[in-house]
Amino acid sequence: MLGVLVWSVQTKLACELLSAAREIDQEVFALAINDDAQAESLAQKGAQVFRLNNQSLEIANTASIAHAISQVVNQLNPEYILLSSNRRGKELAGRLAQIINAGCLSDVRALVSSDGQIECVRNALGGATIAHQVIKTQQKLIAISANCYEVPSDQGGGQVQDISVKVEDSKLRLLSTQGKPSEGVDISSAEVVVAVGQGLENEELLETVNKIANQIGGIVGCTKPIATDRKWLGEERIIGLSGATCKPNVALLLGTSGQVQFSVGIRDADTIVAVDKDDQANVFTLADYYLVADLNDFLPKLSTSL
């Protein structure tokens, strides 16, 4: 049992998995399901690609994708299976792990080789701790978070071959798919992040925040309630456990209480500057510099000063 098999429905994430796979010193196989373009891209990155084309295989059907991949696993017999820890990948991971009797870790942010074992690094207890964990089963399934590994550059040398599996009768039918409205912002790669929380008392002030972000070349991010409860900003701007992990040079936190599910997404920033009206605000413990101020006064002042 040797080798690393990687699969993600999203080509960018599949490419990141190729980089992650290189941390494990074994042969790498990539799988592409009903996606010839992805098979091509992965081959250009030097991967040995297995193309699985079967029109009765529906990506929406987690059960049948899991069974299909388990058959590929049986044919190639890899020690490691890497999936992306996006929503589809995470849902699939549990099911596939159960079929192949593998231990499984999700939301893994890094693979570290230590004493001949691969340790998976991931947040635990809602982000309060960082756990290093090892999977003890013969086959090991790891779902890796997005943006933790680079997309490798094209190097050629890969090849594509076909592989086939049996698909069982489906107990699930896809009725419709609708793209999510997206502004195409990628907060995770921003150099400067301006993050707003519920301390922003009215939506009009967002305009000032946007202006400030423009003035300092930053991207506006937010805490979860700003997107999901107040719906002032899109979900792709959420920072934290259920959103993006950012590593900016500078983060300016405006009225965020700094709870751990949020701070996991920003604690890798080089410099953190926080503004909160509460002089005992918890967020100050994660800041390099903090200012006690009411955003209603502070925001217009900052914008004019810039």
Binding site: T62, Q98, I99, G103, C104, L174, L175, T228, A287
Partner: protein, 250 residues
């Protein structure tokens, strides 16, 4: 028909303290995860619409009976609890096989509802693993569910799209965080909840061979926070800080 809702008891992380980088979990009261409460609310809404029965299942340590009262008050009809202090040491695969075995003991199930991730470890595996053990179809990240005869229609919020699928019952539904606002039980409901029917078993009552742990935790420490925490007094000072950190005015 029955709707099973799986709820996990977790330490209340709001009260988690870190000492010497170690999480201190002793003496923290238990609660139910926010997403699990969403799962229960969905079950209760389906019950009101379809006249189903809502059965809460949970595996946990001796505190469980107390913790779960909150859920029962939120509209469940009865509960099936596996109480054993060994549960705390088990991994997702073991928990899933226990829950699947408990579900198998009930008849006439329409749906088994899980949360997208538990409130403490959030690995998001248990629902999918149970679906596989039972051989049921599954739909994860569900934001709405409607049942029509022997099928369920589910809307799912995925990374880049919204998907609508139809599943044959019985099926596993794994709900997306925040898909609904769980109702807050009244004092009367909480008082009554203690009297709702419940069945309690221990590990000895399940015929499962225990397997070795699949996961070994090498370390689990709080990250080293080495922030300067310097208090500044004015907007001008703040601007200086931003600039010395590399921000350029445009």
């Amino acid at each position: 028909m029955k709707c099973i809702v799986a709820l996990k008891q977790i330490p209340d992380l709001q009260q988690l303290r870190i000492r010497n980088r170690e999480p201190v979990l002793n003496d923290i009261p238990y609660t139910l995860g926010a997403i699990d409460k969403n799962a229960l609310e969905l079950g209760v809404q389906l019950k009101e619409e379809l006249d189903w029965e809502v059965v809460v299942i949970s595996a946990g340590n001796e505190e469980l009976e107390d913790t779960i009262k909150e859920a029962l008050a939120g509209g469940a009809d009865n509960s099936f609890l596996l109480i054993d202090n060994q549960i705390d040491q088990m991994d997702s695969a073991e928990i899933a096989s226990l829950l699947a075995e408990m579900i198998r003991r009930s008849e006439d199930i329409g749906l088994a509802i899980f949360g997208e991730g538990s409130g403490d470890n959030y690995t998001g595996q248990v629902g999918s693993r149970v679906a596989e053990i039972l051989g049921w179809p599954q739909a994860g990240y569900a934001t709405s569910v409607s049942v029509d005869g022997s099928t369920a229609k589910v809307t799912r919020a995925l990374d880049d799209c919204i998907e609508e699928v139809e599943l044959d019952l019985p099926a596993v539904i794994i709900v997306s965080a925040g898909l609904n606002t769980p109702r807050i039980p009244s004092v009367m409901q909480i008082l009554k909840a203690g009297k709702l029917p419940k069945e309690i078993i221990t590990l000895d009552d399940l015929s499962l061979v225990s397997s070795a742990n699949q996961i070994e935790t090498v370390s689990n420490l709080a990250p080293i926070a080495e922030r300067k925490q310097i208090k500044i007094g004015s907007v001008d000072e703040l601007l200086n800080c931003l600039e010395s950190a590399g921000v350029e005015r445009r």
